[in-house]
């Protein structure tokens, strides 16, 4: 035991949260829109960076989201987009030039414009699961309707699920995926657009296989490499126990 004086310096500042991985993550929360009873005026509402990461927006969506400067509430558009894509998928998805192939554009316009919003509304947490339902549902229904091999659809959705669970579980450990991962993964809108374009040209199974292979390698390698880097001590955190697995 030692009685040497510890340095009595200036007060420490609280560590800022790691939630800076997304562009626009620091956008000013808009207090104009609140579903339900509004929070008391002036209450600081923080921590929506993770909610926005769960959206998994790609570059097109992010670019669209800068246009309304975060003033457009995200939930109404997302719910309308869910209904629209359901209707479009229901109106004959089998023919190659069906309306369903334009669903990604409609969904993108309805949800993408609000992607810059801070998601501070009381029900804005419904937006990421809604986007997931649209994306997964679209990929599944289109794939089955245009006779993409079923295991291929399952594998593509499994790869996407890996990425989306990985985003949640990694940020929960205070460990954010690299900034470039979300644009590199094309975002939900990018993946839907790719599939729709290939649907128009009739090479859908190829698109599913290529997407599954590219995204699978991308997401798995990024995740494994960054965990390896963190466990080997490259990370900024020092509280990780070495367990060697």
């Amino acid at each position: 035991m030692t009685a040497t004086d510890p340095p009595a310096e200036a007060p420490k500042t609280t560590t800022p949260s790691a939630g800076t991985a997304l562009p626009d993550a620091t956008a000013r929360p808009t207090a104009t829109y609140q579903a339900g009873r509004p929070f008391a005026p002036g209450t600081p509402i923080t921590g929506t960076a993770r909610l926005r990461a769960y959206r998994d927006d790609g570059p097109i969506c992010v670019a669209l989201g800068t246009l309304p400067r975060g003033h457009l509430p995200p939930l109404p558009g997302a719910l309308v987009a869910l209904a629209v894509s359901a209707v479009l998928l229901a109106t004959g998805v089998g023919e190659q030039h069906s309306l369903a192939l334009f669903a990604p554009v409609a969904v993108l316009l309805l949800t993408g414009l609000a992607s810059g919003h801070a998601h501070t509304g009381r029900l804005d947490w419904l937006v990421p699961p809604t986007i997931r339902a649209i994306e997964y549902g679209y990929l599944a229904v289109l794939g089955f309707a245009q006779s993409v091999p079923a295991p291929l659809i399952f594998v593509l959705l499994g790869v996407l699920a890996f990425h989306h669970y990985d985003t949640v579980y990694r940020t929960r450990q205070g460990f954010w995926p690299a900034d470039w991962l979300f644009p590199a993964g094309l975002g939900w809108e990018g993946r839907m657009l790719v599939v729709a374009l290939f649907g128009l040209s009739g090479f859908l199974p190829f698109a599913y296989a290529a997407l599954a292979a590219y995204l699978g390698v991308l997401f798995a390698c990024e995740s494994v490499l960054s965990w390896t880097w963190l466990v080997r001590g490259g990370g900024v955190m020092d509280d990780l126990e070495e367990e060697g697995t």
Partner: protein
């Protein structure tokens, strides 16, 4: 990392100035022949425990006349004239600390497990105080509210109405709150230096402060609570020990009680998650602690158990992919054991306190992977069986894809709801330190009254076991999902498995989504 500040100002009774911290205790394992073994003091026992918990940064505070015996034992204390000086020193140390700060009385006899809970498990909390059942002795009364927070704390001056427990003194102040705690300590010291500001009206007969009117730790707890800081009341496990001693007899009795307690059993009991689902609680955790002890004995890490569980799930998927009846039954049994190991890894991590961020991530990721790999196995098996004219007659890939989508979207609803934006819970309002009476005497139930309708209904029915389990089962938690997959696959076929998962999962999704939307709107 943690800084431990040990306040050894308590005195052993007698004519000579002997710190209670220097009272000898029997060495570990010795019963009866204490005279033979090298002597050990209460303080060196405590320091040894801190060593084992990896707390290397320690400061010792004592009175000038108590310092020589401590120095003789090889300690290096800081001398403080009185309680105000103690508080000034605590303030200085907390202010300069870059870590969380644990405050301990030097004359404390505490079980290893109880100390580990305070030092390791409470590190992320704003502040934590150990509380014990009210049995009198060297402790001050506290009142804990329904949420497990200290609502009021007592000292020689400050009163507590309707106390629920006692605080023997140990405190853990989280890293984010050390500067605030330093301010509290300074305020308290200032009041003590002001004559008549804190008249010690009720010095108890067994005052923990010895010759002083106050003990720095009792004042710190009062100060933190009245400053509005959320202080968690960490109730000591009844069979463990956490008490202050002053005489060799007390010390011997306390150490013997600490050594008698079966800490392994306490730890094992605490390793089983309290809020698990019905299947996990009754069909797995009823016997999985055996496996936890076995795994700990073999020195397995939680991550190895996680990997073994994933391996079993892959094996189950392989058997399901076979498509024959024997394959389905084998797969179901193997899948059950995959779930057992899935529970064991978390329990082992809590039992051995081997937490890691990688471990938490691996566990969660593999949980999902296990389920979806088995979906694929079942779909492959159905196709294989259809080819061979076996059990199944159809292509169930569409059902497998639907089940995957439903489960993932349900999870995303859970995650997003959990991470929804909420204004941070404000600290309780501050109360003045110079008022002796309990400032929150009437405010004990205000928390329940302000809750929304859903929350109140939910709380009101939580006490009924049937309702409690029904609410757990309806949301189709992981244990129930694994059980459904195993049972329907073994007794029926893949089509039945997916049909049950889809119908039940859809009901579960609607049920929890409704509750969450209402909670978010009115909460």
């Amino acid at each position: 990392m943690t800084l431990a500040v040990i306040i050894a100002t308590g005195r052993a009774p007698g004519p000579d100035p002997i710190p209670a911290a220097a009272v000898p205790v029997p060495p570990p394992g010795a019963s009866g022949d204490a005279s033979e073994s090298p002597s050990r003091s209460v303080l060196s026992r405590l320091l040894g425990q801190l060593d084992r918990l990896g707390v290397a940064e320690r400061r010792l505070i004592t009175r000038p006349d108590l310092a020589p015996p401590l120095r003789k034992d090889g300690h290096d204390p800081v001398e403080c004239e009185d309680t105000a000086a103690d508080l000034r020193e605590i303030s200085r140390l907390a202010y300069g600390a870059r870590t969380s700060v644990v405050l301990l009385p030097g004359d404390l006899v505490i079980s290893d497990e109880q100390l580990a809970r305070l030092v390791l498990d409470a590190a992320e909390q704003p502040a934590t105080a150990v509380t014990v059942r009210r049995v009198g002795g060297r402790a001050r009364p506290v009142r804990a509210d329904a949420a497990g927070r200290v609502a009021a704390a007592g000292s020689a001056f400050h009163r507590v109405s309707a106390p629920t427990a006692d605080s023997p003194g140990p405190l853990h102040i989280g890293e984010q709150r050390t500067v605030q705690a330093a301010g509290v300590a300074d305020d308290l010291a200032g009041l003590l230096e002001l004559p008549g500001a804190l008249p010690p009206s009720m010095a108890l007969p067994a005052s923990p402060a010895g010759d002083d009117d106050y003990d720095a730790l009792e004042l710190m707890l009062v100060g933190l609570v009245r400053a509005g800081m959320p202080v968690t009341a960490q109730a000591a496990v009844p069979e463990l020990v956490c008490r202050r001693v002053a005489t060799p007899e007390e010390a011997r009795a306390a150490v013997e009680a600490a050594e008698r307690a079966n800490e392994r059993r306490v730890r094992l009991r605490a390793a089983v998650k309290g809020n698990d689902g019905w299947f996990a609680t009754y069909a797995v955790s009823s016997w999985s602690p055996l496996l936890v002890r076995l795994a700990a004995w073999f020195g397995l890490t939680p991550n190895k158990v996680t990997l073994a569980s994933a391996g079993l799930a892959a094996l189950a998927a392989f058997w399901f992919g076979n498509g024959t009846r024997s394959g389905m039954v084998t797969g179901a049994v193997v899948f059950y054991f995959a779930f057992v190991l899935d529970c064991v890894d978390g329990q082992l991590a809590r039992y051995t306190r081997q937490y890691s961020r990688l471990g938490a991530w691996l566990d969660s990721m593999f949980d999902r992977a296990k389920e979806y790999v088995v979906f694929a196995g079942l779909a492959v098996g159905a196709s294989a069986a259809a080819l061979g004219g076996g059990l199944h007659v159809a292509n169930v890939w569409a059902l497998a894809v639907a089940a995957l989508i439903l489960q993932t979207v349900r999870h995303m609803i859970d995650f997003s709801f959990r991470d929804r934006p909420r204004p941070p819970a404000p600290d309780a309002p501050a109360a003045p330190l110079t008022v002796a009476d309990d400032p929150n005497a009437a405010a004990g139930t205000s928390g329940a009254a302000s809750a929304g309708t859903v929350e109140r209904l939910s709380r009101a029915t939580a006490g009924i076991p049937a309702v409690h389990w029904a609410k757990k089962i309806i949301v189709l938690p992981i244990g129930e999902r694994f059980a459904v997959i195993s049972l329907t696959a073994a007794l029926g076929n893949a089509r039945l498995t997916f049909a049950v998962l889809l119908v039940w999962g859809w009901i579960a999704g609607c049920y929890s989504l409704t509750g969450r939307v209402m909670r978010a709107l009115h909460g």
